[in-house]
Structures are given as structure tokens and as C-alpha cells.
């Protein structure tokens, strides 16, 4: 029996997205499943954004907080550190301090932070709300205006608040993250609703919701894989935006990233365990379809960059 390479080619293609206005980053654009270069083209490497926040990361566990010990007091210093010292391709600014249960910062405060950070960096900026649907629809509108024409990514628009956020992203020339909860049909539906408003589907990024290793990773993994299959095999345009994996936030709250070795001797060193947890979560989701990843620990990002180099 002679071997014939069972290659597959697909009608569909993932949209290619460029973000940023000075230095830019490009992701998506492939017509093949993740890294399956035998089937087609995978022209752009996944992009990793370093996560920073508008308020000091008092709620981050030691391992990752220590990595930013001297810079995380204010977002501008923190952003510059990521860009200049860690060679960040992009920065993801999470405006978590605007959450009513946190510092409850105002939309004006948030807009000022966005302006200050943008003035300090030249890499692309991703602007994230606090995941409070009501507050986000005020904060992200102000943030989108403050960043007008800087070709940022605004997120996240969810079913309950997408109208105002998508309108603001559209009016100010940004890309938009649409997030729904671990269900391919919900993702599809939200993308349709947003494009029905006149939002260009080629400016969308799908976030099917991340999960950490050991805490539902397989759900995110399979939803991403199914979204990619729908985009490629069914040429389903509503599933063709690139996929985001918002890794750091989900990883650095699970037990495995914080429990002291003394309490769980079987689990080994807590620092290496935490970094590995973020690395393995990110690596798995890249293999299942994520093209844009938001991460926290510099060592985890370094490992993922080496992995990406081997994948291309």
C-alpha cells in the first residue's frame, strides 16, 4: 500500500487583523487548522499581550506580583516596563479598578489612564473593562474615545452590553472583542448581532471565554477547535474572526498557582508550578485555535514565544 499524504484544504479562511498605530501586530489570516502547514498557510504567529491594570495588582498571587514588584504601582511605568524590558508585542490594560466592588474608579479616571498609557508606549494597546456589564458599557465608551484612531482592541462586548461598546469601537476606529460563555452557538449569535449593527466582521475578535488548566480547559479547548472547524470547513464567516485566549486572569486565581509546597508537597515548587500552569494553559489553547493571548508572567510568555518559534 503506497502512502498518499491525506492533506485537506479548506474553503474558509480566518480574517487577518492588524492592531496598533505606530508599531503594529498582525494575527490571523490562516486557511488551515492551528500550525497544520501541510494543509495550507499559517502566515502570522500568534500574538502575546502582557496584561497590566489600572490599579496595583494586590489581588495577584505572589509569584506573578513579584515579577512586577517595582513597576506595577502605576500603569504607565508598568506598561513601559513590559514594552522596553520585556519586549512586549502588545499591552493589555485591564481597567479592573473601575469595578463597583473594587476601587470604583470613574469612566473619566479610566479615560485618563488610557491616554497616559498610550502616550508612553508605541506597541498596540488592548483595553479591557472590569467585566461588570453595566459599568463596562460606560467605561469602555470613554476609553474608546480617549484612544480614538489608535487602532486599539476594545473589550469585552457581551450579550448584555454589546450595543454601546460596539458603537464606541466603531466610531473611534478600534477592533472589538466579543465574549460569550463557552458555547459555539452563543459566540456565533453574538458575532451576528454585532455585525448586524453595521460593525465590520473583519474587525472582530471572538472570545469564547477562557478556562484554566484543570478548571474547564477542555471546554474552552473544544469550543475553540469547533469555531476553527466551522470557519474553515463550512466557510462560516461569522466564525472567521481570530480567537482570543485571556489566559492570565483565569490561571492566576486557581489553587495550583498559589498553594504553598508545604501544604501540597506532591505538587512541587509553587513558583515553577504557577508559571507552568499559565504556560500549559496558553500552549493548549494555541494548539486549539487562539491567535491572540493575554498573559501575565514574563517567564510564561518567554516559554510560549519559544514554542511559537518551533511551530513556525
Amino acid at each position: 500500500m503506497a502512502f498518499v499524504e491525506p492533506k485537506e484544504s479548506f474553503a474558509g479562511k480566518v480574517y487577518q487583523i492588524t492592531i496598533g498605530s505606530d508599531k503594529t501586530a498582525v494575527f490571523g489570516g490562516e486557511n488551515a487548522l492551528p500550525f497544520l502547514t501541510v494543509d495550507g498557510n499559517y502566515p502570522n504567529k500568534p500574538v502575546i499581550a502582557f496584561e497590566i491594570q489600572d490599579v496595583p495588582p494586590t489581588d495577584w498571587p505572589d509569584t506573578v506580583r513579584k515579577a512586577y514588584e517595582n513597576v506595577s504601582g502605576d500603569p504607565v511605568t508598568w506598561a513601559k516596563y513590559c514594552q522596553n524590558e520585556l519586549n512586549a508585542q502588545a499591552i493589555a490594560l485591564r481597567l479592573v479598578g473601575t469595578h463597583p466592588d473594587r476601587e470604583n474608579r470613574t469612566a473619566e479616571d479610566a479615560a485618563k489612564t488610557v491616554k497616559d498609557v498610550l502616550a508612553a508606549i508605541n506597541v498596540p494597546l488592548i483595553i479591557l473593562g472590569s467585566n461588570n456589564v453595566e459599568k463596562d458599557s460606560v467605561v469602555l465608551v470613554a476609553a474608546a474615545e480617549a484612544a480614538k484612531d489608535k487602532n486599539c482592541v476594545i473589550g469585552k462586548a457581551q450579550e448584555a452590553n454589546y450595543k454601546t461598546i460596539a458603537a464606541a469601537a466603531m466610531a473611534n476606529n478600534h477592533k472589538l472583542i466579543a465574549m460569550s460563555e463557552l458555547d459555539i452557538n452563543l459566540s456565533k449569535q453574538l458575532n451576528i448581532l454585532i455585525t448586524q449593527m453595521g460593525f465590520d466582521k473583519e474587525r472582530l475578535i471572538t472570545d469564547p471565554m477562557c478556562s484554566a488548566l484543570g478548571y474547564g480547559l477542555e471546554y474552552t479547548y473544544s469550543v475553540m477547535e469547533r469555531i476553527r472547524l466551522a470557519a474553515l470547513t463550512q466557510n462560516d464567516a461569522t466564525m472567521q474572526p481570530p480567537i482570543l485566549a485571556d489566559v492570565g486572569m483565569y490561571v492566576w486565581k486557581v489553587k495550583e498557582t498559589q498553594a504553598a509546597e508545604a501544604d501540597v508537597p506532591n505538587w512541587g515548587n509553587v513558583e515553577q508550578r504557577g508559571i507552568t500552569w499559565e504556560t500549559v494553559t496558553a500552549g493548549s489553547l494555541m494548539v486549539s485555535g487562539a491567535e491572540l493571548l493575554i498573559m501575565r508572567h514574563p517567564e510564561a510568555v518567554k516559554a510560549i514565544q519559544k514554542f511559537i518559534d518551533e511551530l513556525n
Binding site: P6, T37, Y215, W267, G268, N269, V287, F307
Partner: protein, 445 residues
């Protein structure tokens, strides 16, 4: 792909004699195609047809067992490319490399690490499954000694003997033959000798070739030499080669029923950089390797790799469930809050994670709702006031806590009156709808 009913029908006697218990040969063929009947039921089928049908009905990836006893490693039998289609069958084995040039003390140390690697996670016992002994010395006596040391020191681990030298392989294989090791290292030039050893000792043979065309030719050759239990290395080293080769192998086996590549895959993930090695192993777990060879087995790395393997090999059709019980989060006292939710694992993970974040010690009553999330379970009648009341009463929690207050998820606020009715003396408090609001809710109490 397996044969269709019509294709099978063409191979049957077409006499419609009914001896198989079916009204016609075609009806029987349809049952065979659906794997609901066995060919043995037809007494008149020709030898030729048996051969064709037998091959076509064999699993696309040959099942192979490595090692002995209850910790033997099962491989192969996979039926799909994507885990959402159907459960991946046999979780890949992790093997750690031992070189026969290492000191006995170093080998013992690795064996100890393997022996103590077992971790219990969500009810499953996970461990480093195998030890790969490489014949780095190319010396027969050293190889045999290392094999004996490993066999004695790691009594439960499966053994893989790695060498391309049939002369050094012979004694080592014999020394541990009762452990059903895998002999790895057959290639085009040593195929006869290596196949001879595998055959004589009734063990599986690992073969290695550069590229899939050469690999297919090699497995055919080995099969021709009388060895059917084969494990394959396609020469893939980089992450990209691993994903591409393994995908093509799995596709060829499953979609094309291409027998020469219908065997489990072994991948060598060893790297100087331990984090990169971990990521290569992740690619192997996700993309179809059956054995992943590692250079080291640190505890934190084991935990991450065991967990990713468990996640990928979970049955996508059966919602993951956690055990029904009252979980303690932090160190709750008799006055700490009591909350209730359903036993869908994701619900449990998210809720318990947020409670942990709140740093407020709590008890979380997790009720068996057949793995459904709160709203679905409520709609399906699995999370009702009377069931909750019964669970709370039978749990014995009333003896453990002083208060009589239970916090229910905001989505089922509608049940609060009914629960109070069924649980006399208890007060129901409605908590937030979404778990991420729990820290604020708990802290503000």
C-alpha cells in the same frame, strides 16, 4: 474508513438463506456495517471475504498493551480526530528517559521519582507510566544492567528499551521479558534482527523512520516479518513536525483506513529547556501521541502534564461531575456561611474558585444534579426545593453548624419560599446570579 453496507453485501454469498438470523444478506450487511453483528454468524462466507472484512473491521489504530498488571499501559484504539466528536480512548503514556551510562544511584533516583509520581486528581490516580532506557553506551552488559536495575527499582512502571543495536538489545530484552517491555529502535537496516527479538519474546516493537512514506514502508516490512504490535516514531522533533506528522498519521489511519500507519505513535519531547519540553509534551498530548518521552519528571511539571492529559481525554459527552457533598473552603467555623450549588464540575470549579478568592471561609454544599449547571438543573427538575431540603437534612450539616441560613444561587431565587417551607427553621438568602459577584457578596456580609 470502514466499509459501507453495500460494499460488505458484495462480499457475502447473496443466497438470502437466513442462517445468520437476518432476512437477507443485505440486511445482515447493514448490521455488519453498523458493527451490530459479527461476521461469524454467516456460516457460508468465503475465506477471501473473511480476510477483507476482517481487516476492514479491525480498529483503525491497533490496540497495544505495554507492561503488565493493573498499571499496564493501553494504547491505540482511537476513532476520531477531534475530542468533541467522541472521547479520546487511551490517554497517552508519559515515559522518562534513563541512560545506561548513568550511575546506578542516578538511575535509582529516577526510579524513585517515578514510583512516587502518583497524584490523585478529581478521583483519578495519575502517574509517570513508563521508563525509557536508552542504550547510550552501545554496550550490551551496561544496557542489560540498567534494564535489570529499572525492573527491580520501578516494579510498576512499563519499560521501554531503546537501542538500534540488535546485539545489545537481545540480553536486555531477555532480562525483563516478563515485564512485556517495548523494544524501540527498529529501522530499515536492522529490521530483520530486531523483529526476530520482538517475535521471540512476544513483545511490541518500536520502529523509527524519517518521514511518513518511509515509515509506512517500514511498518509493512516489520509486519511481513511477523511482528504485528508496532509503535511508530516518524522522526518528528519540532513542535511543528509533531503536529503535522501526527495529524497526517491519525487522518490516514482513521479517514483512509490506511493500515501501515494504524499504530500508536511515540514522540521524543526531550529538551534542555524544561519549559519548552513541557510545551512539546502538551502538543503531543493534544495531537495524538501515545507515548511521550521526557527528560525529567519534576513534580510541578508532572502535575501540569497529568492535568492537561486528563482534560484532553475527558469524555465530552458526559458532563464532568464532582461528588455530592459539603465542601469546606478555607477553614470554616460553625458560624461560617453555607452555600449550595449543583455538581456540574465547571459550576463547582468556578464557584469554589470565587469563594476562595473572597478569603471568606465557607461551606459549599454541592448537590448531585447529574452534572447539570444551576439553571439547566432547575429547569430539568434536578435542583428543586424538595431535593435541596432532603440533601441538607441527610447531610448531617445541622450538627456541624450553629446557624440555619443557606445561600442559594441568584438564578433560582424563585425557589427561596419553597425551600423555607420544606426546611422548617431555615432561612434562605438569595446570593448573586454570577459567581464573579461572590467575593463582594461574601465580604459585605
Amino acid at each position: 474508513m470502514a466499509l459501507t453496507g453495500v460494499e460488505i453485501f458484495k462480499l457475502l454469498p447473496k443466497t438470502n438463506c437466513k442462517k445468520c438470523g437476518h432476512p437477507t444478506c443485505l440486511a445482515f450487511a447493514m448490521k455488519l456495517a453498523q458493527r451490530q453483528a459479527s461476521l461469524d454468524a454467516c456460516p457460508d462466507v468465503s475465506e477471501d471475504a473473511k480476510k477483507v472484512l476482517g481487516e476492514a473491521s479491525a480498529p483503525p489504530v491497533r490496540p497495544i498493551t505495554l507492561g503488565t498488571g493493573d498499571k499496564a499501559v493501553k494504547m491505540g484504539e482511537e476513532t476520531v480526530l477531534f475530542r468533541h466528536e467522541k472521547k479520546f480512548v487511551n490517554p497517552c503514556a508519559f515515559a522518562v528517559e534513563v541512560k545506561d551510562t548513568m550511575s546506578e544511584a542516578d538511575i535509582n533516583k529516577i526510579c524513585d521519582d517515578v514510583n512516587s509520581s502518583e497524584i490523585d486528581r478529581v478521583g483519578q490516580k495519575l502517574r509517570i507510566d513508563a521508563i525509557f532506557i536508552s542504550n547510550a553506551s552501545n554496550d550490551a552488559a551496561k544496557f542489560e544492567a540498567a534494564a535489570k536495575t529499572v525492573a527491580a527499582k520501578a516494579p510498576a512502571a512499563a519499560i521501554i528499551l531503546g537501542t538500534e543495536n540488535a546485539q545489545t538489545a537481545e540480553a536486555a530484552v531477555k532480562a525483563v521479558a516478563d515485564r512485556k517491555p517495548l523494544l524501540f529502535g527498529a529501522n530499515d537496516s536492522n529490521a530483520e534482527a530486531m523483529a526476530g527479538i520482538a517475535k521471540a519474546n512476544k513483545i511490541a516493537l518500536g520502529v523509527s523512520a524519517k518521514g511518513l512514506e518511509a515509515l509506512s514502508a517500514l511498518t509493512e516490512k516489520i509486519k511481513g516479518l511477523g511482528v504485528e504490535d508496532i509503535v511508530m516514531d516518524s522522526g518528528a522533533k519540532t513542535a511543528k513536525e509533531i503536529i503535522n506528522n501526527n495529524t497526517l498519521i491519525r487522518r490516514a489511519a482513521i479517514k483512509k483506513n490506511f493500515k501501515p500507519l494504524g499504530y500508536p505513535v511515540i514522540t521524543f519531547a526531550q529538551r534542555d529547556d524544561v519549559m519548552l519540553e513541557t510545551l512539546i509534551a502538551v502538543a503531543c498530548v493534544a495531537k495524538y501521541s501515545s507515548i511521550v518521552v521526557l527528560s525529567s519528571v519534576e513534580k510541578w511539571k508532572n502535575l501540569a502534564l497529568f492535568t492537561v492529559r486528563q482534560n484532553i481525554y475527558t469524555d465530552p459527552q458526559v458532563p464532568m461531575q464532582v461528588e455530592q457533598k459539603i465542601y469546606k473552603i478555607g477553614e470554616p467555623t460553625e458560624n461560617s456561611p453555607l452555600m449550595i450549588t449543583t455538581n456540574f464540575s465547571l459550576t463547582y470549579f468556578i464557584v469554589s474558585g470565587e469563594v476562595e478568592n473572597s478569603k471568606v471561609p465557607c461551606r459549599l454544599a454541592v448537590m448531585d444534579s447529574e452534572g447539570l449547571s444551576v439553571l439547566t438543573a432547575w429547569a430539568a427538575g434536578k435542583f428543586t426545593a424538595s431535593k435541596i431540603a432532603q440533601f441538607i437534612k441527610e447531610s448531617g450539616i445541622e450538627n456541624e453548624i450553629k446557624h440555619r441560613e443557606i445561600i442559594i444561587p441568584g438564578y433560582v431565587a424563585i425557589m427561596s419560599g419553597a425551600i423555607e417551607e420544606k426546611l422548617p427553621g431555615w432561612k434562605v438568602t438569595v446570593g448573586p446570579r454570577e459567581a464573579n459577584a461572590l467575593p463582594a457578596f461574601l465580604k459585605s456580609r
